[in-house]
């Protein structure tokens, strides 16, 4: 194995095992300690187990559980097998086998993770060994279900950079040249009175009064009124986001909403129609009328054209990712790999999201037209579309700090329900609210970075780190569903920001080939032919995608004869 010819570059930037990474992260790991620990991390229990490694067979080891992680170190293997799993990634813990189970290693725990892997530990059948570890794990992996704090609230790490300072809505709007004579900043939502899932600071047309906004809110699902996300520095065309109008079966109309959309159109001095992108498939939009929702009809909005972008809902995406996991973990479907990949439809969904975002960006940039983007509630598909379009149009968002701002603004600020979609600390693994919408967004970003290798300041490791901490609960960044709730929980005071970790060690996340260029719109090719599965993320636990494995196979082949 020593002749591994993997160049340095690869092993540094595409770290395959989380163990290595977390070891480096652990600022408080002293050599004489048994396991790495973060400041504020405390040992809870440990136990001898057999880790049923799907790649190398059973591994005898000792598992340590802290209030942050599950850590396993093998006792007999050389090199030592290490497993380092933040408890936040656990989605489900099951007991396998009963006290009377026969057969080797058939009694123990099955752990399903949110990051494309499963873990299985076999235990001794004596005593209450399993009950204890099961209870401890359940308690610390699902603190929300046990009235406990997330680890982020007890984490005592210190970083030279303060990630909470990265995003300031006011300075971000100023960077965009706002407010100006056509757009104003409103504090109407300062105490989340207008909309409890929106940020406190909003940008709206200068010609719309706060009274107007209140009336519009009544006609938009969950009061998520159309507000400005981004303005084109030259064309002054804008990207607006909102939720669906409450048209309902009876085809209700709302004069204020209609006038408001016209005001948006006119703010750009635009004569042509306002373009509305409804992210949903046409049928779904129609079906939403049954539950009081719907879309902007032609009669009511003669000055707008509506396009459906055919992106499916959170349930379809969840099922698609589940299928993807089935074919890549633990073993990759070898025969007909591409056909099985196709049957998951994962890349097709990626394609639709990217295609939608390209349309939005192109309309604003080449079409010089303002656009309004919504789906049903305007916090999943809408966030994907606006943030990707902004990434295509504005080179600032392609820097490390700019991307942090983008995530902070379009996702966290505008109430993507991270807590519900990820299920932070929640034991209800089958919750229908869970869905990999943010992962899908990051995948789209990765696809773009593949097509434009010098356009992004950050590297693949940056994206993987974001995804790892999307689940880990070590930072407050992705906790809770809205700004209102985060304020209530005092997240910025009591927890650390993920950007503190990243910005304190920026070089690790920097793309060496980045070449700064201003304001060039990047349109990725979104055809299936040009999309790739993100192997370094989805299949990273499989040691076979690394080199050298050929050996093992050869020896096996020889052994059989």
């Amino acid at each position: 194995m020593a002749s591994s010819s993997t160049p340095k570059y690869i092993s540094n930037s595409l770290e395959n095992s989380s163990s290595k990474r977390t070891l480096k992260d652990g600022t408080n790991w002293e050599q004489n300690e048994e396991i790495p620990r973060l400041p504020g991390e405390t040992r809870v229990t440990d136990k001898d187990v057999i880790y049923m490694c799907p790649f190398n067979g059973p591994v005898k080891g000792r598992v340590y559980i802290t209030n942050y992680r599950l850590y396993l170190r093998s006792v007999e293997n050389d090199p030592v097998v290490i497993l380092n799993v933040p408890l936040g990634v656990i989605s489900r813990i099951e007991k396998m086998g009963g006290a009377s189970s026969r057969g080797e290693n058939s009694y123990g725990l099955d752990i399903t993770c949110k990051d494309m892997r499963n873990l299985r530990f076999a235990l001794k059948q004596e005593g209450h060994s399993r009950r204890d570890i099961f209870e401890v794990l359940t308690k610390y992996a699902f603190p929300q279900s046990h009235n406990m704090l997330f680890f982020a609230f007890v984490n005592e790490e210190k970083f030279p950079e303060n990630g909470w300072m990265v995003y300031n809505p006011m300075s971000e709007y100023r960077r965009q040249g706002l407010p100006n004579e056509r757009w104003r900043v409103t504090f109407i939502n300062e105490h989340y009175g207008l909309c409890d899932t929106y940020p406190s600071l909003l940008v709206v047309p200068y010609n719309a009064t706060d009274e107007d906004l209140k009336k519009v809110a009544a006609f938009r699902s969950r009061n998520r009124i159309p507000v400005l996300s981004w303005i084109h520095p030259e064309t002054q065309a804008v990207i607006m986001r909102c939720s669906q109008p409450l048209v309902g079966m009876s085809g209700k109309r709302n004069k204020d909403d209609e006038r408001y959309l016209d005001v948006i159109r006119e703010a750009n001095g635009q004569i042509s129609k306002l373009t509305i992108y409804d992210a949903r498939p046409n049928v779904n939009a129609v079906a939403n009328k049954a539950t009081g929702g719907g879309y902007e009809g032609e009669d009511a909005y003669p000055n707008a054209e509506l396009f459906f972008l055919d992106i499916h809902n959170i349930h379809v995406m969840r099922e698609s990712l589940k299928k993807l996991k089935d074919i890549v973990y633990p073993n990759v479907e070898e025969s007909h790999w591409l056909s099985s990949l196709e049957s998951t439809h994962w890349l097709e969904h990626i394609k639709l999201v990217l295609t939608g975002a390209i349309q939005v960006a192109d309309k604003v940039s080449s079409g010089r037209s303002s656009v309004l983007v919504h789906c049903s509630d305007g916090w999943d598909r809408t966030a994907q579309l606006t943030s990707l379009a902004m990434l295509m149009l504005d080179s600032y968002y392609r820097t490390i700090e700019g991307f942090e701002v983008l995530v902070q603004k379009e996702w966290i600020g505008f109430g993507h329900k991270f807590a519900s979609r990820i299920g932070h600390g929640d034991k209800n693994h089958a919750d229908a609210d869970r869905s990999p919408i943010f992962l899908q967004f990051i995948d789209c970003v990765w696809q773009m970075s593949k097509q434009f290798p010098t356009a992004f300041e950050f590297n693949e490791q940056f994206l993987i780190t974001i995804l790892d901490h999307l689940y880990s609960c070590r930072f407050g960044t992705f906790l809770y569903n809205s700004e209102l709730l985060r304020e209530k929980e005092k997240v910025t005071e009591k927890t650390l920001s993920l950007w503190s970790l990243i910005n304190s060690e920026k070089s690790k996340y920097t793309n060496p080939f980045y070449s700064k260029e201003l304001n060039r719109a990047l349109y990725p090719v979104a055809s299936m032919r040009h999309l790739e599965l993100w192997v370094n993320y989805y299949i990273r636990w499989n040691p076979r995608i690394r080199q050298q494995v050929f050996n093992v196979k050869f020896v096996k082949m020889e052994g059989k004869k």
Binding site: P7, H336, E342, S515, R529, Q547
Partner: protein, 551 residues
């Protein structure tokens, strides 16, 4: 034959041309010469097209009313469209292109007429003689010798004049053994592994036939290279079944009883017609504009191209494995020993031997293991994926090799000194070229029959000119002395978009990125203290990084 007889209409005005990368069609004057199709735009007079007619794989014509459209499908997978006013003109142009592109006399081909001012004839044809390879070998071992037994191409018409054989075996023995191998391709040394002194040999199948013929001389060649008790591996690139069946037509395999120290491993690699069809299906899928995208992966899968790559790489790894890990000598052959055999031996060397991974070394490898080793380029590359001629001999074995090299370069982005551009150039030139390098099927034809080396220019000389060479280098290259074991898992094998989607995808950004990387790396070498330099040294293999940290 005169070219002028084939050209029915030499010039047509007012022709509309569509080619990839062109936003709008151009109008201009079309001109056919003996070897080229030219189009200069009107009224600007820019040369918009300069196409080697040999590059045309298929001509499709459609006439409607008073004008006609000709679609030219090129061997490099580009597709051009010409709209020609006048039905007769259109048909004339089409038949002229058809006739000129299918001229089959080698000496009528463009390389025999191409005389670039910057190059001298006969330059470069001796750039990679086997002798130099042998000299290096001599310094490492005395077990092998350079034999000129084939100097008049009588022992084996598809071998070069000089070959490397075991030192202990006389030319007489070799001559006799040659009669026992198909096409006379007796076992010769392909690669010597200096780390442990093992060797890679190649040959064609033994002519055992159904009555299990034996040949003492052949057994002697294979016997002498193994010490007592030493075991060697024969990697047969056919399935056990196919190898057995070959006995019926006079071929076969080495039976255990006559070659007791050799162990046979069968690895079925696709070749011939099925491989050509796989290529055709893949190109069809890639260029199908109507293809509903959700079926793309299934079509890519069913073309089986990626599985052929996987199989080729795995077999090459197996050979490399036997040499490097099992310390065993290896003989590779299939049937004729001119296709899959060379694919495996060339790839195995690239995996094992760092000197093959330099630009020079790779050219040497191609010269030794493909061109001089007698891969029948003329037969295999007569047509590409779009031809309507369903030939029996065409097979994209060489393209499969280039694709495997590309896969290696993707998995080991720093280990090959050359980049994708070189592989693309090699593909283009293997199918249609201004240079003589890939003409003919073997050295005998090149030297004796066609005088290729006296009358054409070598591609290598062209490539190695400093201003050209620059394009083919990988800016990220850093010498890697280790064996590069590729991953052959299905998810590690990717479609070579740079080739198969070359004319379809907008490559501008990737090209710019490549230039940017080149610029950064050069900047890094020149001013390593500057900020880009610092950024690069963190991720690129850099020996000075350690000392910097030490401060």
């Amino acid at each position: 034959m005169e070219f002028s007889e084939l050209i029915k209409t030499a010039t047509v005005e007012n022709v509309l041309l569509w080619r990839p990368g062109l936003a709008a069609p151009v109008r201009g004057t079309l001109c056919i010469t003996s070897h080229h199709l030219l189009l200069s735009s009107c009224p600007r007079g820019d040369l918009e097209l300069w196409l080697l007619i040999r590059n045309v794989d298929a001509v499709e014509k459609r006439v409607s009313g008073s004008s006609g459209t000709i679609t030219l499908r090129c061997k490099d997978l580009k597709v051009l469209q010409l709209e020609i006013p006048g039905m007769e003109q259109c048909l004339n142009i089409a038949s002229s292109i058809e006739a000129l592109s299918s001229v089959d006399s080698v000496m009528m081909m463009y390389p025999f007429f191409y005389r670039p001012p910057s190059l001298r004839l006969e330059q470069g044809w001796h750039q990679f003689p086997l002798r130099r390879f042998f000299q290096r070998l001599c310094s490492q071992t005395s077990q092998w010798r350079l034999s000129t037994v084939n100097r008049d191409f009588s022992a084996c018409p598809s071998y070069p004049e000089a070959v490397i054989v075991p030192a202990a075996v006389s030319d007489d023995t070799v001559t006799k053994a040659a009669r026992f191998r198909q096409g006379g391709r007796f076992p010769v040394l392909s690669y010597f592994h200096p780390r442990n002194g093992t060797a890679l040999l190649r040959s064609s199948q033994p002519l055992t036939g159904h009555n299990r013929r034996r040949c003492r001389e052949d057994e002697k060649i294979l016997g002498t290279i193994l010490d007592e008790g030493e075991r060697g591996f024969i990697i047969d690139t056919r399935s056990a079944q196919a190898a057995k069946q070959a006995r019926m037509s006079g071929g076969g395999t080495e039976p255990k009883s006559s070659y007791p120290q050799w162990r046979r491993i069968h690895r079925a690699l696709e070749r011939g017609r099925p491989l050509q069809e796989s290529f055709i299906r893949l190109v069809e899928a890639c260029s199908d504009p109507s293809l509903s995208m959700d079926r793309w992966l299934a079509r890519l899968d069913s073309s089986r191209w990626l599985s052929h790559i996987k199989a080729a790489l795995s077999t090459a790894c197996l050979a490399a494995q036997c040499l490097d890990r099992e310390d065993s000598k290896v003989l590779v052959h299939g049937a004729e020993g001119t296709d899959t055999t060379l694919l495996v031996t060339a790839l195995a060397q690239l995996i094992l031997d760092p000197s093959c991974r330099s630009l020079q070394g790779f050219q040497g490898l191609l010269e030794r293991e493909w061109i001089q080793a007698g891969h029948p380029f003329q037969l295999r590359c007569a047509h590409s994926a779009s031809s309507h001629v369903r030939g029996k001999q065409e097979a994209p074995i060489f393209l499969l090799f280039l694709d495997c090299v590309w896969q290696l370069s993707r998995q080991f982005p720093f280990s090959l000194e050359f980049g994708e551009e070189l592989l693309l150039t090699l593909f283009d030139n293997a199918y249609a070229s201004a240079y003589g390098t890939f003409l003919c099927n073997n050295e005998k034809e090149r030297w004796v029959l066609c005088k290729v080396k006296e009358s054409t220019h070598s591609l290598w000389v062209w490539l190695n000119q400093p201003e050209e060479k620059h394009k083919y280098l990988n800016p990220l290259y850093s010498h890697n002395p280790l064996v590069i074991w590729p991953s052959v898992e299905p998810q590690s094998i990717q479609l070579w978009q740079g080739l198969f989607l070359r004319w379809i995808r907008p490559s501008q950004h990737l090209d710019e990125a490549w230039q940017e990387i080149q610029r950064l790396v050069e900047g890094n070498n020149n001013w390593s203290k500057e900020s880009t330099g610092k950024r690069l040294s963190q991720t690129l293999p850099d020996t000075t990084a350690g000392t910097e940290n030490g401060k």
